[in-house]
């Protein structure tokens, strides 16, 4: 089994849970270790409860895992809620001045830090955090120099005295731990590789920059706001216009205006904002204007659980906007894929002049992952499709914006080019853009235009790779998932194999086009199939059945707001193999 180490840090919002998280993440990635982090939090700015998990190891860490090795409770609440997550070999570092220890499981090391003896707590309110970071790293077998340089960076905007104070605090914690606590049995290894650590939101935004996005518009909405923040911070350097708009209706319409003018335009939102956008998605389809809309799913319906994850928006995406039109929907498989998918989907949107939707979720958007910097390729292929950018010699046939073609694609023109004036319209129109919506006898034209647009579907399908099955072909069980469950299902397959159950994995990245025939072919010899998704009704299972008539043997679903952990899947698979149920709904143990 793979070696990994996980830290859980808990406290109230405003107590400084994020900073130790960032410091640990930097130290791990610079040590050449992979990491994955996820923050379970509430929609509250001060108070409440926040629990951050960071898992690290020499191999790719695709999820936060089942085990916490080091617990750092910053308040009593965290001690009371989470101590039970520790098992033999684990340790709990806490401020013995203010927190009463709970009763740990056998083999768990309780490590009280006498904070007021080691620090002047009247001056430094977060002294306990810095002491705990120092102590924790000492127990993990990490040299102090790494922490010293990260602290200097973390506080680089403050004066030297602040840096010195934090370094000496960290040193005090480091030394205290080495004198009083037993180090972990597995000192953290080092490798020569260096990783970038980023959130899915940063990856989506950077993917946009790599794709040549020149216009980004948004309205703040969790969990998509991080995309706006990255764009706002970097837009001027990247020459991307970034606009915060009055509502999501304005957001998408502004993006459509910019896209029609000829630039790549992108916007991101969550389910509620997307609901406001859906009418304009139809405008993009009807006027044949390419745009990319990112939906970072959170638990719904309505305001739902704004800080929790879910895969509950699939049917909203499938049915968004009325009428029939070609659309593209893809769900990134991990945080690195949030970056790579954007240029890919822009090429499809541009070539086929249709709206494209990226179906992300809070788990990826706000989670963090170590990514090989080579994955962050800022020079991917850019294909703008059939695009007229100049009048050439001026001699050409009268321009028809919606010319009937075999592919269904009619060459676009950048407005401003002489000799190509035309009208694009949300109304049904003729080849030259003239409205036919009000004509008395227009059935032939309407049919021709509908068929022209829908012919693009075949081209889109041919441009998108079909899904692949991973793992042994004759596996006992085939696990089918889509989007963000990729990492956790992959690890569950490994854990099942360790327990003598062979499992393979079919991850779905492109939802539309689905490649249903390929899926049926891949599953035709499967011994037992289980669809795993983070929602109540099995939205993907229902979609797959509607497209292919495929019905799996069982389902694993979770709709409590938290993501799957590997053991949820392992235990569910085992109960289904034992014939106990066809629908498993694992319980989430970490109560936040």
């Amino acid at each position: 089994m793979r070696q990994s180490f996980a830290i859980g840090i808990g406290g109230a919002a405003g107590q400084g849970v994020a900073t130790p998280g960032d410091i640990f993440a930097k130290i791990f990635s610079r040590r050449g270790l992979h990491l994955n982090a996820y923050n379970a939090y509430q929609s509250i700015i001060r108070g409440g409860h926040t629990f951050l998990t960071i898992r690290t190891g020499p191999d790719k860490v695709s999820n936060v895992g089942d085990r916490i090795d080091l617990l750092v409770p910053l308040n009593q609440d965290t001690m009371d809620r989470h101590l039970r997550l520790l098992s033999a070999g684990g340790a709990c570092l806490y401020n013995s001045d203010s927190i009463k220890p709970g009763v740990p499981a056998a083999g768990v090391q309780m490590c009280p830090i006498p904070v007021s003896k080691l620090a002047d707590i009247s001056r430094n309110k977060v002294a306990q955090n810095t002491l705990a970071i120092g102590a924790g790293l000492s127990m993990m077998g990490v040299g102090f120099a790494a922490l010293e340089s990260v602290l200097a960076e973390q506080f680089r905007k403050k004066e030297q005295a602040v840096i010195d104070e934090n370094v000496s605090l960290a040193r005090a914690g480091y030394d205290y731990a080495s004198q009083n606590f037993t180090p972990f049995a597995w000192p953290l290894p080092m490798t020569e590789t260096r990783y970038a650590v980023l959130s899915g939101n940063a990856a989506l935004a950077m993917g946009g920059a790599a794709a040549g996005v020149k216009f980004y518009s948004a309205y703040p909405m969790s969990p998509s706001t991080g995309v706006l923040h990255w764009m706002a911070d970097h837009g001027r350097k990247a020459n991307i216009m970034v606009r915060q708009v009055e509502d999501e209706i304005g957001v998408i319409n502004m993006a459509i205006g910019a896209a029609h003018a000829g630039v790549r335009a992108m916007c991101a939102t969550s389910g509620g904002g997307f609901a406001l956008m859906s009418e304009a998605l139809g405008l993009a389809a009807q006027a044949e204007i390419p745009i990319v809309v990112i939906d970072c799913q959170r638990a719904g319906p309505s305001t739902g659980v704004p800080t929790k994850t879910e895969q509950g928006d699939l049917w909203q995406m499938l049915g968004a906007a009325f009428g029939d039109y070609p659309r593209v929907i893809a769900a990134p498989l991990d945080i690195g894929d949030c970056f790579t998918l954007i240029p890919e989907i822009f090429n499809i949107a541009d070539r086929f002049q249709c709206p494209a939707i990226v179906l992300c979720d809070l788990l990826l958007s706000e989670g963090r992952l170590s990514v090989d910097p080579k994955v962050l390729d800022f020079y991917p292929a850019i294909d703008r499709g059939e695009f007229i950018t100049s009048n050439g010699s001026g001699a050409h046939q009268p321009y028809k914006r919606y010319k009937i073609t075999e592919s269904g694609v009619s060459p676009r023109v950048i407005p401003g080019v002489p000799g190509h004036t035309h009208v694009v319209s949300s109304d049904e129109h003729d080849e030259d853009g003239v409205l036919i919506s009000d004509e008395y006898t227009n059935t032939t034209k309407r049919r021709a235009m509908m068929e022209k647009r829908m012919r693009k579907v075949d081209g889109i399908e041919a441009s998108v790779p079909p899904p692949k099955l991973h793992g042994p072909a004759d596996a006992e069980v085939t696990l089918i998932g889509w989007g963000s469950t990729h990492g956790v299902i992959h690890e569950a397959c490994e854990l099942l194999a360790d327990q003598g159950i062979s499992a393979n994995h079919l991850p779905i990245r492109w939802l539309v086009p689905l490649h249903g025939d390929t899926i049926l072919d891949l599953l035709k010899d499967a011994r037992r199939t289980i669809i795993i998704e983070n929602n109540f009704s099995g939205q993907f299972a229902r979609y797959l059945r509607s497209e292919t008539s495929f019905v799996p043997n069982g389902h694993i679903r979770k709709y409590d707001g938290e993501p799957f952990l590997p053991h949820h899947i392992v235990e569910s698979v085992k109960e289904q193999l034992a014939g106990k149920t066809k629908l498993s709904v694992p319980t989430h143990e970490i109560m936040v």
Binding site: A202, F215, S217, I240, V245, H260, S426
Partner: protein, 298 residues
């Protein structure tokens, strides 16, 4: 051999003739607005490929189809948002936005307010007929109190909005009112509006001859009075403009209520456009910029 220099042909009314003729009801006020826009573009000699005409949905929003420019017939109420995106992506285009009172002040009210405060450099022409026409005659945000329509058959019990006051309050930098039947005056207002650097709003009385039997051409004609006829009226005085905007009854002012030229336009304020219109900018990042984005994460 003498070099022949091609003299560019002067831009004429025929250049702006749309692919189809307007299908508005005979006598509709919108005909006058269409002709005035075409005339203003001719007088300003703006080539049609440099003009984008963007509308929402409604009788008057069919406008882009009746004029030959880069037209865009968008969704009900969304023309200003689409036009903002278009202007920001290519600020060399002259952007005209056309629509009605329902489209602009009802379903599109939110965008109306925010586009004004942003000072987006475009001309917004509302053909205000105080009624929903294309849906066959319902109350609009500018329908007068007591007006009987199909949706309020016992008379409107909701106060109408005052588009001029709202525009002034929201920070529009050019605010005017025209009357479709006073073509010469309207052409001048449109020219001023196009030339104004910033958001220009012209509310045009454009009577609906089919569904609004209250606010007819005959009703307006004796009432409208041009601000330009008053030598003491100062269109840079915001307070005076606000006061004039409240006048309604026997005398209704038309003309340029207000203009200020000291505020930057949205596209002028964004340094990203220093490198030229977005649509003509390089879409690949310079290698050092791309590298710096990765370095931040290491």
């Amino acid at each position: 051999m003498a070099t022949e220099v091609e003299v560019p042909k002067a831009i004429a009314m025929a250049d702006f003739k749309g692919k189809v003729d307007p299908d508005w009801c005979p006598g509709c006020g919108d005909f006058g607005v269409l002709a005035a826009v075409q005339k203003a573009l001719v007088e300003l000699q703006i080539p049609k490929h440099q003009v984008a005409t963007i509308s929402g949905i409604g009788c008057s929003s069919n406008f882009p189809g009746f004029i030959d420019t880069y037209g865009m017939h968008t969704l009900h109420g969304r023309s200003l948002a689409v036009a903002t995106g278009m202007k920001l992506a290519n600020h060399e285009m002259t952007v005209l936005v056309t629509g009605g009172d329902g489209d602009g002040f009802g379903i599109g009210g939110n965008h109306f307010m925010h586009t004004m405060r942003r000072n987006v450099d475009l001309l917004y022409l509302v053909m205000d007929n105080q009624i929903y026409g294309l849906t066959t005659g319902q109350t609009s945000p500018t329908s007068r109190l007591g007006m009987k329509t199909k949706s309020m058959p016992f008379g409107n019990i909701e106060n109408p909005i005052n588009p001029i006051s709202i525009a002034l309050a929201a920070g529009a930098t050019f605010v005017a009112r025209g009357f479709s039947a006073d073509q010469k005056h309207l052409v001048e207002l449109i020219k001023l509006g196009i030339e104004h650097k910033g958001f220009s709003f012209i509310d045009v009385f454009s009577p609906c001859v089919t569904y609004n039997h209250d606010n007819t051409f005959q009703w307006f004609r004796p009432r409208v009075k041009k601000l330009e006829e008053n030598p003491d009226y100062d269109p840079t005085d915001w307070g005076a403009a606000m006061e004039k905007s409240l006048m309604w009854g026997d005398e209704i002012p038309i003309g340029r209520f207000f203009e200020r030229t000291d505020l930057p336009t949205l596209h002028g304020a964004d340094p990203v456009l220093k490198a030229g219109p977005l649509v003509h900018q390089e879409n690949r990042l310079p290698p050092d910029v791309a590298q710096s984005f990765i370095d931040e994460l290491m």
